[in-house]
Amino acid sequence: MISAGKVHLFEDLLTQKTRRRNMNTTSTHFVPPRRFEIYEPLNQMSMWEESFKNNGGMYTPSSITIPTNEKPDSLSEDTSHGTEGTPHKFDQEASTSRHPDKIQRRLAQNREAARKSRLRKKAYVQQLETSRLKLIHLEQELDRARQQGFYVGNGVDSTNALGFSDNMSSGIVAFEMEYGHWVEEQNRQICELRRVLHGQVNDIELRSLVENAMKHYFQLFRMKSTAAKIDVFYIMSGMWKTSAERFFLWMGGFKPSDLLKVLLPHFDLLANQQILDVCNLRQSCQQAEDALSQGMEKLQHTLAESVAAGKLGEGSYIPQMTCAMERLEALVSFVNQADHLRLETLQQMHRILTTRQAARGLLSLGEYFQRLRALSSSWATRQREPT
């Protein structure tokens, strides 16, 4: 039987119920409180006690969603209200007058348990908050990666959130991360060149900037060479580049003669001899590129022959695979040759131009690629808008 003296505790429980209902209208979803609302207060209290006991005093909802406007203190108040004394009071109603010490001790124990529960809850909620922040941060990084044109899954396949298929080895993952840093450094160097060229700068400082820019490109070629040994198809397809850059792809990178054609009008005050040299360089580039392209065509032809050798349709093709694999080894050499061509083109331009012209040239080259990357993200954004 419920005595009159317990009414105030009852009212506490009701207000707790209201508070919890209010909380649910924000955005927290704890499953048990919802269930509670359809029960009588008596059932509610015994369920609280049960969940409290079963969870060692820790309130752990079965389905966890990340709370937004969480106020841990109000929750812990509820916990304490929900358990402090009430069930025990009902059970031990008869012995209140007979064993005050026992009651006091019981109360103290409850207070202690409630305090510990509050602390545990606080720690848990803090953990949730940290996870939530981490999640937001990760989502931002994903967005950034998408904008840069990195292949990022649309979240449909949860196991491949970042587009890392089973085939992508750690070496390629490392390459992509290194490339991210490379682009950041590239952007920094471009800003530096821009700043310096707009002001007064001595030749020595300019020369060191030019040297650094050249070394930076050489570093990229080294990175690509390492990655090509791991996955040559990845390099050949330009997978690390943004979509617009990939449109201009030739043998896993930019086509040197095209680049010279684009940048030539932007070189200021080229002496006649320089113009001649640059034109000769462009022609040599084109011839070298043609030769490599034809070599590549032959490789495709011989590879196709190897794959199609023997009887097609029998279902067994191990010897064909072995032969084809041998042919594919040559692909790495081609990718390396293409990068060698790019490197040589850069070095020749460095030789032909003055320091200041080379600095301007590197600035133009760098910004050209920046614009291509920007185009990729603009295009990606445009495509996502509903028509």
Binding site: C285, A288, D290, A291, A330, S333, H340, L341, E344
Partner: protein
Amino acid sequence: MDKVMRLASEKGVVIFSKSSCCLSYAVQVLFQDLGVNPKIHEIDKDPECREIEKALMRLGCSKPVPAVFIGGKLVGSTNEVMSMHLSSSLVPLVKPYLC
């Protein structure tokens, strides 16, 4: 190796290659574009293939093929040929041997 040096002097521009080597083919195409008709030795069709390979490596080639000789002298492999062409030093070298 005598055989190698003899073969290398057979013509103005001589390329040691293998029938399966597509990079050697690329080098051949480049010389043809410049107006030269190089002599191609496919060493995998030569019974002394192993010895020729070793000899070419001893001469300083990191890979046995393609090995390019101009005027009987070793110029190098694909890297060297490409570098020379881009620095405009290949054309003068092959001038005496234009078709």
